[in-house]
Amino acid sequence: MSPYLVVLAAGVASYACRLSMVALGHRTGTPALLERAAPFVVPVTFAAVAAGGVVAGTGSAAPVASRSVAVAVAVVAVRRTGRTHAAVAAGMPTLWALNALLTGG
């Protein structure tokens, strides 16, 4: 199958996910379980995606260590400032510095 068709089919599937409960919920009402879960969806989902990003795709222990420390620094920065972008502002320089120290590059 052409890669263009595969991408288009994947796009339709993604849109179906986005539209599903909006289309159904308008007629049937949002399930009570979803309403209770809504406040937790963002922190839970983002924690899962972030944790995977910290650990995945690294071929050696050094980058994992750098990433872990950078995340720890980012957590402290956000707790102190209350601002999300402090995570990037503090975490990326930490990552670069530790990578330079641990891998020499």
């Binding site: 991408v7 089919a9 937790f40 944790a51 995977g52 990433r67 995340v71 990552l95």
Partner: protein, 227 residues
């Protein structure tokens, strides 16, 4: 909003680079932007197509990664009830992690205002929240496509040593720290992170879906015990 735009721009740049350096035809890799419109799912799709995976495998992978959008859709459904069909169709197309977070914040403020104000103020605030969501979501979409295009054109020349791909985990971590304000949400986020790491080896990235379900179960159980 500005941090989300910056985060989305950098992420899209990375996604554009990964697509441009893969073996997938450039236009097909770029097309994942306006169609799939989800960084992780886009990169997975390009990677799988590049490796010769069956179309069914690509579809199941994209569905698994984007299954969280069903939960987002459910959370937004009550806010969008009563809007015109075209509006809900467009709003749903623009639903991604950042637009969901930005929209949910504003709808929450509108609900708070409705408790304090009268009927007219309530209607105005709801209209304002709808405009805020749609305006923000369109801005995020435009930034995503522009940065994706830029990444596809100039990305391969950026030094890999910058590790720009790590901006997203950091940014998401910042959002978790800021938003996990209750013990239940902290426990849910921690459980989700642990299961996500343990499930990295699960094929098709289904571990991500399992970790989200586990985290939500822990958070819901903890919130019940906390009452």
């Amino acid at each position: 909003m500005a941090p989300w735009l910056a985060g989305m721009g950098l992420y899209a740049l990375v996604v554009g680079v990964s697509g441009a350096t893969s073996g997938v035809p450039g236009p097909a890799a770029w097309l994942t932007g306006p169609t799939i419109y989800s960084g992780g799912a886009q990169m997975a799709a390009v990677d799988l197509i590049d490796s010769g995976a069956a179309p069914a495998v690509v579809l199941v992978s994209v569905l698994a990664i984007n299954a969280r959008l069903i939960v987002y859709s459910g959370a937004m459904a009550r806010n969008w009830a009563g809007r015109p069909r075209w509006w809900r169709a467009l709003a749903a197309y623009l639903l991604v992690d950042p637009s969901f977070a930005v929209g949910l914040d504003r709808y929450g403020q509108a609900a708070d205002g409705a408790r304090d104000g009268g009927g007219r103020a309530r209607a105005d605030d709801r209209d304002g929240a709808h405009a805020h969501y749609l305006g923000g979501a369109v801005a995020l979409w435009l930034v995503w496509l522009c940065a994706l295009t830029a990444g596809a054109i100039v990305g391969p020349r950026l030094p890999a040593g910058l590790h720009l791909e790590f901006v997203i985990p950091l940014f998401l971590t910042g959002e978790v720290v800021r938003r996990a304000a209750t013990p239940a949400s902290v426990l849910g986020a921690a459980a989700s992170a642990v299961v996500a790491v343990a499930g990295l080896a699960v094929p098709l990235r289904l571990g991500l879906l399992v970790s989200i379900v586990a985290g939500l179960a822990v958070a819901l159980a903890a919130s019940r015990e906390g009452r």
